[in-house]
């Protein structure tokens, strides 16, 4: 995304994006990089993190891969430190990583061992990302963006734990916006619906899902991670959103209109 006069609106800024090896995270990372930010691709697996970084570099932008398990405080702190050391600071912290939600079904059918990992990856990791990034975001001042979900607003019959942990991130955004506003640090959330490998898997398991999703979407299509969701992150990180904090931007083609 470029500015109204063709300038790269995030030129000189530094971003960390967790879970950026594929899907929405990769789309956001590439959009931030195209807007001028140097990007740290923070993922657990080099197998997708390194190619994501290479793809951005091949397009002529700056990106590095750093291995990061977002549920581990040491990993998150080391990732932020690597961004600061490599690029000289941190302006944009994006927490997008998400745990596997398991087989769809009511909460009583959710596998017991799949509850805590979802809490850890969404909720605990949001805390860890916020705490690790604040000292650097205060200096710029920068912005924190959490990736939530429409399910975190309207609930989900079949992914109730996922919906709950995504809702916690909206609570974090609202209260952190109040807590960090005096520092000039903005905090917002994006609730996207986009075609991702995870969505492809869900559609594969339930072929009617895409038809139903598109049918309830006024814009009549699934979002694209880079072209549709990435620019929302660029906007929230840019000076154009300097008076926007504590908000959840639902980027789902208009499917959910209940806010």
């Amino acid at each position: 995304m470029t500015g109204a006069h063709g300038g790269r609106v995030l030129e000189g800024q530094v971003a960390v994006v967790t879970g950026a090896g594929q899907g929405v995270g990769a789309g956001i990372a590439s959009a931030l990089a195209a807007a001028g930010a140097a990007v740290v691709i923070a993922t657990r697996r080099a197998a997708n993190g390194e190619p994501a970084a290479e793809s951005i570099r091949a397009a002529g932008h700056e990106a590095v891969f750093v291995r990061c398990d977002v549920t581990q405080a040491g990993d998150v702190e080391a990732t932020v430190a690597a961004a600061v050391e490599r690029f000289g600071g941190l302006d944009i912290m994006v927490h997008n990583a998400v745990a596997h939600a398991g087989r769809p079904g009511g909460v009583q059918f959710t596998r017991s061992d799949m509850i805590r990992p979802q809490i850890a990856t969404a909720t605990t990791a949001s805390f860890l990302c916020a705490r690790a990034s604040l000292p650097h975001l205060r200096q710029r001042p920068g912005t924190l963006i959490l990736l939530t979900s429409p399910a975190g607003v309207e609930g989900s019959a079949n992914l109730p734990v996922y919906a709950a942990v995504k809702a916690t991130q909206r609570g974090i955004v609202k209260s952190l916006a109040r807590e960090w506003g005096p520092h000039g640090v903005r905090v917002n959330a994006i609730a996207p619906v986009a075609r991702t490998p995870a969505m492809d898997a869900a559609v594969s398991a339930n072929p009617d899902l895409e038809t139903r999703l598109v049918a309830r979407t006024p814009l009549g299509r699934m979002g694209d991670a880079a072209a549709d969701i990435g620019p929302v992150a660029v906007f929230l990180a840019s000076d154009g959103a300097r008076y926007v904090t504590g908000q959840t931007i639902v980027a789902d083609g208009g499917g959910f209109l209940g806010l």
Binding site: Q108, R116, E154, S156, T168, Q169, G171, K174, S175
Partner: protein
């Protein structure tokens, strides 16, 4: 036949509501980490008999760590876990364990959540996260259990029902533009009456997944 009601949580609002709800009220105040999938099965009536079917489950389990102000950069990971992650998991596991008991009575589950989740509050990020997680859990339960005629709601309450008076006052001062439209906050008896109504199928059989804000008309948050 009198209704069987389970109220889960120590301190207010759980304690205040337990004394005001109408029916056979079982009030338990476990630690968050004590609530596992079999927790409801393990609850005993005063005469020692196990619970076998519930008309209403009221969740208001908020550990002291959730109610204690702390800026996020001053919190340890274990403090965060105790304030948010553990009680969130407890809420999820309470719902899992309550399901068969609610099925038996076509009952209702109500989550009481503090308004800091909807309105935000500095120094209460963990409580805010927990509140929003539970509020949306209620919606998810409403969606997935509706076909079994189990209903689920969230009732959002003024911070004064959860926080120390000075913290509640500071939070309201920092976040609310308006005084309560009714000139006062609702009493525990008035809140209990609404929860009783939410679980009374003669009155609210067509209502599920609601988020009712009972703050006297202070925030009027959705």
């Amino acid at each position: 036949m009198s209704r069987d009601i389970l109220v889960v949580g120590g301190d207010d609002p759980a304690t205040a509501l337990a004394s005001e709800l109408s029916g056979n009220v079982l009030h338990v105040a476990p630690e968050a980490e004590e609530v596992d999938d079999g927790f409801v099965d393990g609850v005993r009536r005063a005469d020692g008999t196990p619970v076998d079917g519930l008309d209403l489950v009221v969740h208001a389990l908020y550990p002291q760590q959730s109610r204690t102000p702390a800026r996020i950069d001053e919190m340890t990971e274990s403090e965060w876990t105790a304030a948010c992650d553990d009680p969130l998991e407890a809420g999820i596991r309470l719902a899992r364990g309550a399901h068969r008991h609610l099925t038996a009575r076509q009952g209702t589950i109500v989550f009481c959540v503090p308004l800091v989740g909807a309105a935000g509050a500095a120094s209460f990020v963990a409580l805010s996260a927990l509140a929003e997680g539970l509020r949306v859990l209620a919606r998810s339960l409403a969606r997935s259990w509706g076909s079994e005629q189990i209903r689920a709601h969230a009732v959002t309450l003024h911070p004064s029902m959860f926080l120390a008076p000075e913290d509640a006052a500071a939070t309201a001062e920092a976040t609310a533009l308006h005084d309560p439209a009714l000139g006062r906050l609702p009493s525990a008896a008035e809140i209990a009456a609404v929860i009783d109504a939410l679980s009374d199928s003669r009155i609210t059989a067509g209502l599920t997944g609601a988020s009712l804000v009972m703050d006297g008309g202070t925030w009027m948050a959705g």
